[in-house]
Subunit: 772 residues, 2 copies
Amino acid sequence: MKNYIIHDEWKIIEDKFRPEYNEISESLCSIGNGRMGQRANFEEKYSGSTLSGSYIAGVYYTDKTRVGWWKNGYPEYFAKVLNAANWIGINITIDGEELDLATCEVTDFSRILDMQTGILYRTFEATLASGKKVAVSSRRFCSIADDQIGAIEYSITAVNFDGNLTIEPYVDFDVENKDSNYDEKFWIEIAKETTAGAVYNIAETKKTAFQVCTGTEYKIIQNGNAVDLSNAELIQKEKFVSNIINIKTKEGETTTIYKYAANISSFNYEKSEILAKCKEAVGRAVDAGFESLLDAQINAWAAKWEESDIKIEGDIAAQQGIRFNIFHMNQTYTGEDERLNIGPKGFTGEKYGGSTYWDTEAYCLPFYLATADEKVSRQLLVYRYKHLQKAIENAEKLGFSDGAALYPMVTMNGEECHNEWEITFEEIHRNGAIAFAIYDYIRYTGDKQYLTEYGLEVLVGIARFWAQRVNWSEAKKQYVMLGVTGPNEYENNINNNWYTNYIACWTMDYAREAIEFVKSDDVEKYLAVANKMSLNEATETAKWADISEKMYYPANEEMGIFLQQDNFLDKEIIKVSDLDKKHLPINQNWSWDRILRSCFIKQADVLQGLYLFEEHFSEAEHRKNFDFYEPITVHESSLSPCVHVILASKLGKEEKAYEMYVRTARLDLDDYNNDTEDGLHITSMAGTWMSVTKGFGGMRVYDNMLHFAPIIPKQWTSFDFNIRFRGTVLDVKTTQKTVTVTNHSDADLTVKVYGELVEVKGNSAVEVATKS
Amino acid sequence: MKNYIIHDEWKIIEDKFRPEYNEISESLCSIGNGRMGQRANFEEKYSGSTLSGSYIAGVYYTDKTRVGWWKNGYPEYFAKVLNAANWIGINITIDGEELDLATCEVTDFSRILDMQTGILYRTFEATLASGKKVAVSSRRFCSIADDQIGAIEYSITAVNFDGNLTIEPYVDFDVENKDSNYDEKFWIEIAKETTAGAVYNIAETKKTAFQVCTGTEYKIIQNGNAVDLSNAELIQKEKFVSNIINIKTKEGETTTIYKYAANISSFNYEKSEILAKCKEAVGRAVDAGFESLLDAQINAWAAKWEESDIKIEGDIAAQQGIRFNIFHMNQTYTGEDERLNIGPKGFTGEKYGGSTYWDTEAYCLPFYLATADEKVSRQLLVYRYKHLQKAIENAEKLGFSDGAALYPMVTMNGEECHNEWEITFEEIHRNGAIAFAIYDYIRYTGDKQYLTEYGLEVLVGIARFWAQRVNWSEAKKQYVMLGVTGPNEYENNINNNWYTNYIACWTMDYAREAIEFVKSDDVEKYLAVANKMSLNEATETAKWADISEKMYYPANEEMGIFLQQDNFLDKEIIKVSDLDKKHLPINQNWSWDRILRSCFIKQADVLQGLYLFEEHFSEAEHRKNFDFYEPITVHESSLSPCVHVILASKLGKEEKAYEMYVRTARLDLDDYNNDTEDGLHITSMAGTWMSVTKGFGGMRVYDNMLHFAPIIPKQWTSFDFNIRFRGTVLDVKTTQKTVTVTNHSDADLTVKVYGELVEVKGNSAVEVATKS
C-alpha cells in the first residue's frame, strides 16, 4: 500500500523524485496504443532501480518451461511477453559528465501521465557532481492515431554554465526479460543502419523468429535553428545503433531533441519489407512534426473518452481511479487485430507472460461491448474461434478425443503455455467462460448471426469437452465432475465445483440451442459445420441433455446455499473479519496446504455463477449465498471485488458495495498488493469499470433491452457513465436524487430503469428519482 | 524391460560389451560399504555413454530450489547426493593411442559383480585403431571391513605388440551432478599434493562447506617386479591430480596396477586432519596389500550373508533377484553412524536427492531389524530423534505451534528439501510411519526402554501435529482431516484419507501409552521430558483421546470396505485388467489430472493400513478390501507390490502373491521401469525382502514371539531365509512339504508356526508340514 500519487481528475502525478518508487511509477505511467507500449522509463541513462520495458503486440518468446517436477501434459514452453528495443533512449553528457538521475541532485521533478490525451510529461532540474545544473522537460506518446509511431520532445536547458553538450539518441535491442527462465537474452541481431540523423536496427527473436525493425530519426533545435547533424558520429555496437552529436550550449540556452520512432514487426509485414515500412512510418512522423502528431493524439483520445468515460463527482480519488482503469483498457486493446488479445499486464510489464487468460471473456469483454464498436468485442471472440483447432489438440494431449476442445489457461497463439497441474489441467471452468462470452456478446449486440458464422463450432467443441469430462457416479446416481479447480484458486483438485458443474451444463444446453438456431438460420452452413466437426447431432445432443438433466450440484438445503464443492461444510467456517490481521494476505503468510484446507476464498466462485446466471436464481438465493460466502472471501485476486460490488449493489448492500469498490478502483494506483512495480493488473481494470456500470449502475441487458437500477454511494455527489448500445450512445448520470438517462443519438431508445419502461427520445434525456 | 543379465545364483553378469546398456550395468554393478560407494564405471577413459558416480555418505549439496511457481513454505534448497571425486581413474595410452572402449573393437568383455564378496570384476580385449590389441582384467571393491578404503587391481596385457605403455592413475574432483538445477559444479578446490606414486586432492562443497580428501597410492608390477615410479611425471590441473608413467611392454607381457584409495570427509574429521587421515588410511591399505584386503572383504561379506541370506531353490532368476536386493541393502546402510540414512538410490545414482524418505521406516527398518544387530535399526530411529527440533521448526513454517512436529518428506539433515506442495505439505502420513517405526522396533527387539530414552519425545511431537492438523466438522459431528495426500500419490489434496486418519489416531493412542510407560519406567525422566516439551499431560492427552474416539473414517458398509478417501466411490471403477495396455504405465501416458480423477492406485493405501495394523482387522475385512483395491492398483511405485505379496500370502492367494513378487524382485535387474540407468530402487529392495519373509514366510512378531505361516509358490522347490531375533540366529526353510526352523544359537526358542507353538532347542531344528 502506497499513497504518493497526487489525486487529480485526469492526471497521474508523481510530484517529486522518488527513486525508491521508480518502478511503480514506471508501471503507472505506462503508455501504449494497442500495437505497442512501454513503461514510463527515463529517456536519459538511469543507473538506479528501473524495469526497462518496451513491448510490441503479438511478438513473444517461447521460453523453455521451468518446473521442479515434470508432469505429463505440461507444455514445453511458457510464452513470454517480450521486452523489445529501447527506442526512447537519449544519452546526455555535459562536458564529459553523464546525466544520470541516480548520481545527480534532482529537484523540481515531476512525472505526469495525462490520461485525457495519453501524453507522458516529465520535468526536472539536475545538478551534476561538477555543480553544473540542467533543467529538462520532456513529452512523449505512442500515437493512438497512427499505431506504428511514437514521438518524444526532450528539452534541456543549461541553467548555470556554458559548455559542451553531447547527445546520443539510440535504439538498443540488447535488452533482457527480467523473468527469463534461464537468464537468456531472446534477441539476435539481423541488420542495422546508421546515418546522420537516423538509426535503424533489425533483430529477430530466437525460436519464434519474429523480426522487428525499430528505427528513429531525430532533429535538434537550438535557438530556433536546426542543428547540423552531418558531423554526427555514427555508432554501431552489438544490437545497438546510435548517433553522437557534440554541440556547444550556453547558460540559459535550451536545446530540444525531437525523436520520432517506429516499430514494425513481422507479425504484420513480410520480413523483407519491415525496414522499408519502418522508414516509411518514421518519415511520416518526421513530415508531420511533433505538434501535428500531438494534435492527432489529443483528438483520438477525445473520441475514446466520449464513448467510455465515467465521471464521479464528490470523490476525486474515485474519479482518478476509474479513469486510470479506463485509460489503460483503451490503450491496451483496440480491436484492430483479431490475433491480439489482452495480456494480464498489457504493455506495462512482463509478469505472467502469455496474452490471454479467461479474464478476457469474463471481465474484459463487457467493457469493450459497452464502450466500443461491436467489432471490437467480436474480434475477441474470433480470436478464440481461430484457436479452436489448437484447443482440440490441447484436449487431445490430456486424453480427450472426438473434437472435444479445451482452451488453454494461458496462451499467446492458442497453445497452452501454463505449467501448474492444478491450474493448467484442472481450472477448466475457463472453457465455460469462453462459451458464455458468445452468449454475452449476442445478448448485448443482438448479433445472433455470430453463432452461424463462428460461434457454433466453438460451442460444440466445448460441449463435447464437458460431456467427456464428467462421469457417472454409481454412488450418487448422478453425473459428477471430479478433480477440478474452480475460480477460487484457493481450492485445488476438488470434486463437483458448483460453478464449474453449472457452467458446463449451461454450455451443453446453449450448444443445443445454437444448433437449433443455426439450422433455422442457414441450414447449409449448419450442415457444413456438422460435417466439418463430424457432429452426430442426435447422439451427442441427447448425451448433453442427459448430463444436464442429471448433473449433481452440491448444496445445503437447510442453509439455502449452493456448496462451492463437495464436503465444503467439513471445513471450519471462520469469517475473515474474525481472523487476526497478521495472517492477511494469507497468500503471503500461509503455506499452500493451510490455505487449501481453510474455508477462505480467493475470489468469487459460487457468487461468480450467480453473477453470470443471475436470472436463473431468486433474490433469496442470491442473498443467502452472498451472506454465506462474502464474509469468508479474502479477495486476494484482483478479479474478486468487482463481482461483489455487482451483487452487493443488487442486494441493496451499499456499504459493502462501496467497500469493495474502493478495493478495486485504486488497486494499482495505491499499490495495494505491493506488486505494481511488476506492471498493472490490466484485466481487473475492466472489473472496476463493471463495478460502476453493472454494480452501482445496475446495468443489464435482457430481452434486447438495457436495464438500469442505480444506487449511489453516500460518499459521491454523482456518477455518470457513457456507454454504447446497438448504435446509440448513452450517458447515465446518477445523483443522490435523480437518475438521468441521456440519449446522444438520433434514434429513440427504450430502456428499463428500476424495472420500469422508460422511453428516451433521440438527443434528449429522461430523469427518474434515485431509489435508496 | 530388459533381459540381458545372465542368471546366476551369486553373480550379476554382463557377458558382452553393450555400450547401449552401459549406464544400466553401471547401476546394477555398483559397489559400496555404507560409508562410500560408486557406480560400476570403467577405470580407463570412456567417451561413450556413462553416468560417472562416486558418493560419500553424509556429504551433500544444497542445490537452489527450482520451481515453476513458488508456493509459500517451499524450502530454499533441495539437498542433492553429491558426485564426489573419481578415484578409480587410470588412463591408459599405448604408443600414444588412448585406450577408450568407445573407439576400440571390444571382444571377450565381461563385467561381473560377485554379490557373495562385493567384488566387481571386469575383463575385455580391445583392438585399437592401430591394430594393437590389449587384454585387460580388473578387480575392485569398496572395503566393507575398513570403510575408508577402496582398492583396484588392473592388469593389462600386450597381446600382439611391443611398445610404450603410458599409465596415468588420477584423482579428479572436476566432476558434476547431471541433475544440477542450474548447471553448476558443486566442488571448489582446496589443496592438492602429488608425489611419485601418490596423489591427494582436497575439495570443498560450495554452501555446505564439506571438505573431502581423496587420495590414492599405486604400485605397478611387471614380470613380478615393481616398476620404479621415481620418474613419474607429476600432473596438477584444476581439481585434478595424477602421475604419468611411461614404460615399455612386450608382446604377451602383463602389467598390473594396484591402486589403493581412501576418501576422508569433514563429516567425520576436522578439516585440518583429513589429509593426514587420508594418508593414514591409504598407507594402511598399501601396507596390507591387495590380497589381504580382499580376504578381509570376503570374510566380512560372509558374515553379513550368514545373517541375511535368502536361498530360493528351483528358480534361479528369483534367487539372483533376492540376493541382489539383500546385497544392495547391506552395502548401502550398515548402522555405523546415526547421522546416516538410506537414500532412495543409495550409492548408485543421484536421482531424487535427499537421503531419507518415509521408505526408511516403512520398508527398510524391518529388514535391518531381522538381519542385523538391533543397534543398526536403533540408529535409524535415533536419526529421527536427533531431527526432532528440525521437525518442530518444519511444522512451524507450515503454521503449527506448541511443539508439533512434522518430519520432512525428504531430507539430508532434518530440514525439508522437497518442493511439490501436494507432497511436501500434504503427504503427512510420513509422520505416522516415523511413529510406527518406534512401535515396530520395540515389538521386534523388546527394547521398550527406547521409549524412555528417545521415543516419547518423538511421539509427543507427532501426536501434537495430528491434534492440530484435524478439525471438527460441524457437518459430520466428527473430526476430519482435510487436504492430504495418502501413500497413493495418484490422489492429491484429498479429504479424510482413511490410512492417514487411522495412523494419526493410532499415533495419538500410542503416545498416551508411551507416556504411561515412561512414567512407570522412570518418572524422573518422564518429568524431564514433560518439562522440556512443555507437555500439559492432562489437557493434551484428553484432546488426543477425544480425537481418536471421534475420528471420521470413510467407509462403505454395504461393500464392507474402507474408503481410501471421501467420495472415492464417485469415481468410475475400472479394473486395471480391463484397461487397454497402451495406457500403461499411466504415469507415462496420462496427464496428471486424468490420473487423479481415475480410480487407479499407485501403491497400497488402505491396504498399507491393513498391513501395518493387521491385528486390528478381521480376515473378512482384509479380504474384502484386498479384493476391491488390488484390481484397481497399477503398482507404479516400486513400494507397492511387496505389501500386496504380504496380504495375498496371508489370504492364501498364492498366485497373486507370486505375480506381485516377480514384479518387485527383478525390478532393477530387468529394468522394468526403464529407469535403472539413473540408479537402483534401494528402498524398495527391502520390500522384496519383506515379500519373502513376511509374505511367503508369514513372519510376524506378536507378544514377544516370532510367528511363521509359510506358503510356497509352486514354481519353487524351497525357500530359506536367515534372520536374527533377540540374540538368536534362525533359518526358516520351506519346501513344498515341510517347514524347517533351525536355531543356530545355544538358547532355546519358542515360535509359532501356523499358529501352533513350536519349541526349537538351541542348535537344533524342528520340522512341520507345509500348509497349502
